[in-house]
Symmetry: C2
Subunit: 112 residues, 2 copies
């Protein structure tokens, strides 16, 4: 199979599971929303509550490249969120690092 | 924190890890693309290669409701894909069932 244009563009994906201190999930989701409100070259960033564990949050991310992800860590909104999040998080697990190859709902590579 | 409109809409999310028979990942990704090309009320469906395991695929899905997800299983494209996929898959893990609450790149609830 030939690589499609999205694959050729070298997208970068992350699947992260965040476990919070009991009772702090909504507060943590609020911090994630603020920090992720304006992230250049982020193609998708979904924050979701685990349906079985009331203290777990899943974050699934698609970036146009690894470099765009790494650059986001220097954004003021992201840097400001980190110390606020620190006291709420009991465990942070990078479940998978991926190369997204196709996505319904993702902008096409031609749009970049 | 008050629920935002997306949360109120009752979105449904899935994070699935598919492990394929060695050498069959690209073929399996092709089948997933075909089966997911036209799924009504699917807000996001990303297929990604695991960067560390050459036989693993991650599928992350966001639906406007559980009912829309369930209805997709009856679509001809999905039903046709299942027997073709069967011989390629060595393990299918539903890693998480979620309630997405916010997503950059997701259409707003108002669009539905």
């Amino acid at each position: 199979m030939l690589a499609d244009p999205q694959e050729a563009s070298g997208m970068y994906g992350l699947i992260v599971k965040i476990t919070v201190v009991p009772g702090k999930r909504d507060e943590m989701i609020g911090i994630l929303k603020e920090s992720a409100a304006a992230m250049p070259r982020c193609l998708s960033y979904v924050v979701a509550k685990d349906s079985a564990d009331e203290n777990a949050i899943w974050v699934t991310e698609v970036w146009d490249s690894l470099g765009s992800h790494d650059a986001s860590l220097a954004l003021p909104a992201v840097k400001n969120a980190m110390p606020r999040a620190k006291g709420l998080v009991s465990n942070f697990e990078r479940i998978a690092v991926t190369t997204p190859v196709w996505g319904a709902g993702l902008p096409s590579a031609a749009a970049h």
